[in-house]
Structures are given as C-alpha cells and as structure tokens.
Subunit: 124 residues, 2 copies
C-alpha cells in the first residue's frame, strides 16, 4: 500500500503501511479454532487466505510467544513420515484472546467506515 512504488498493489506491494499490526496472531488463533490440532507448516499455507505473508520466521516465533503466554499448547507428533511436527491447540486463554481480537476488529471497521464516509463527504 503506497504511491511511492509503482508496482504497488494490495497484497503485492512490499511497502509496509496500512497493515494491521500483529495480524498474524489472530489469524493463527482463528485457524486453530477452525481446525485443531495443527502444526506450523500447515498454518503457513492457511494464513494466505487472510493475506498474511508466508514468512516462517514470523510464524514460528509467534507460535512460540503464544505458547509462552499460555494461549496455546503444543506437543510433538513423531508419527508419520518426514520431520517431527509440533502440533498446536488453543487453550482457554487463547479463546478469550480470539474474542478480544474480534471485538477489536469490529471497532477498527467502524473507524474505517467513518474515515471513508468523511472522505466521500469531502471529495468534490
């Protein structure tokens, strides 16, 4: 989102303005709510639905933080082929945090509505 980079397109442009901070967090919480347990690598794909970049660094660090904060738990799944998977599931605190984000997003939507309405009134 910018007018400084001629290649700027929503979801394509690399400039940082306009993104919702920490958006990866509520996306992970919601994806877990939808489908538990899940491991990081599969969540990485699912995140694309919400337009979140597929950066494993951000993903794994966020999952770690959420676990340290008591929002999710994980245990290793060594069954199956390939490397072991850390399977995550939501904890009650994580469910509450998800609700918190929902309320926050409803407020953000209202602010954006007001912003857009103001623009419509002002543009000649």
């Amino acid at each position: 989102m910018c007018d400084r980079n001629k290649d700027c397109q929503p979801g394509v442009c690399s400039c940082r303005g306009g993104k919702i901070e920490r958006f990866i967090e509520p996306c992970l919480l919601l994806l877990l709510k939808k489908n538990q347990p899940a491991h990081g690598y599969e969540l990485l794909d699912s995140l694309q639905v919400f337009g979140v970049s597929g950066d494993p660094g951000s993903l794994y660090r966020t999952l770690r933080r959420l676990e340290n904060e008591g929002m999710v738990t994980s245990d290793w799944d060594t069954s199956g082929t390939g490397p072991a998977k850390r399977m995550y599931r939501l904890l009650p605190a994580g469910e509450k945090l998800l609700e918190h984000w929902i309320n926050h997003f409803k407020a953000v939507k209202q602010t954006l509505d007001m912003y857009i309405k103001t623009y419509e009134q002002v543009k000649e």
Copy 2:
C-alpha cells in the same frame, strides 16, 4: 488491544497489536483535504477523531516525510501571536495517495469482514 494487560480498552491500552500501520499518514491527508491550510499543532487535536495518539514526535516527523516525498507543501505563517506556524497544504501527489489509502481501507474492511464471518461460523 490485548488480553495481557488488564487495563486494556480500545484506545486506552498501550499495547501495540491491532493498529493500522502508518495510520497517521492517511488521517493527516484527509484532514488537510477537509481543511486547508492547516498547521501541525491543530492537526494534532483533529487526529483524536480517528483515535490516533497525540504524539507530536510522530506528527511532525510524518509531515516532514510527506513534504520530502512531495505529498504536501508548507510555508511559515508568522502573522498572529505566538510562535510561527508551518502551514501545510495538499499537493496533487498527496491527493492521489489519499485515494490510494481509501482503496486500501476498502480492501482491509473486506478482509476483516471475512475474518469475522469465519469466526461466527466456527464458534460453537
């Protein structure tokens, strides 16, 4: 916006998640579109309407950046009482950037709608 700080309330909580990055920029552009020319100190008050924090550091640095990028111009107003005011007005590139933000926000709203709808479907 968090569940880690017990005093968390929208617009009150100091934690950073959930905010729109660089939101101060489109707010300044829109406020100038509404009322030109305007100086920093008065824009600082007007920003509150959009829930943007009244930090003069962020404000003046953003105005400077927008000026360097050719989005706004300023000139000093030494008339009147008190210290001189730098009066800002929008340039054509700034008008275009404002439109750009509007389109971006419409896209953000759609993403949030999808997020909320998904939650409503999933919550038991």
